[in-house]
Symmetry: C3
Subunit: 129 residues, 3 copies
């Protein structure tokens, strides 16, 4: 299992980690299989979408905040309940087919890491089966 | 890796693709393992639920539109930001156990393809490991 | 494939099934791989988050009810449309890396079973590949 480390710089962010995951897949040297990207944190998440347009990135963060407000009258201590809930809805586990040693992503697809309670150092586990 | 092609006919739709995925699993001729269904598009998605009741299908689409409105004052050009966000929340990757050569789905479960920006020709990748 | 049986006691609940899934993984006797946890029901779901704080558990259920109201003017007969929609958004399939024979979960992560239309007896399938 390979591990990626990223340092997030703000409290809530979306970070394109496609290149880092692809590098970990190459390190596995497995030509065909499935890549499992796993985030071992409870206030972060992972998903796939178009990662190039910074406008869409802002739309994604804004809409997450509309669906799951930062201030929601939550009971959980720590002030990060919204990040736990966003993490639960987004998910922390992502399976991607590997074909010819590389991620079989579509033309417009990239991998987003969602930081919900930064800034922090985060770990991401990448396995290929 | 097998590939399913579907032609969607409207802008936003849910399409039952259970039979097509099951056929691709049979073509793989693997008796035990995990089926990975992967959508390589950023304005579409995949999930499992009850696919027979057309009323529920409408409820699902309506509620997605309430959670992530078509018109949301989004920044992203192209007029399909809501489809990108719905795709991100629904997900584009689905793992299903295979038992005895067939998908080990529950009695009421089927596989839904979510089209968020059709009509288009869409590809779906099906692997069995 | 191992199967976990749980009896839910109320209509809507979140139940920590980490120990049960871990036991099923140990029974598989596979040291390295991926664990697939699959819920074969259409009004239930599965996800990972912090499972110790009962306040957060209530926050999660409350926020799910805000995003997908119990009473939403749904068409689907049976009075459980919200549970179908919650199940679709949360998901019924979860892949977790296995390392040294145990689930490679983060320090604060546990596995939540979402019951959306109980009380019922529910089955959860656990495979390790």
């Amino acid at each position: 299992m390979k591990e990626i480390t990223i340092k997030t710089t703000v409290q809530r962010d979306l970070i394109d980690i496609t290149a880092e995951v692809q590098k970990a897949v190459l390190d596995h040297k497995k030509k065909e299989g499935v890549c499992l990207v796993f985030v071992p944190h409870t206030t972060a998440g992972i998903f796939i979408n178009e990662t190039h347009d910074t406008d869409l990135r802002k739309d994604l963060l804004d809409q997450l905040n509309r669906m799951i407000p930062v201030e929601g009258g939550y009971r959980h201590a720590g002030g990060n309940a919204d990040a736990h809930i966003k993490s639960s809805v987004i998910g922390c586990s992502l399976s991607i087919p590997v074909d010819g040693g590389i991620l079989a992503l579509g033309q417009w697809q990239g991998i987003y890491f969602f930081e919900g309670d930064g800034p922090r150092e985060r770990k991401i586990k990448v396995s290929v089966y």
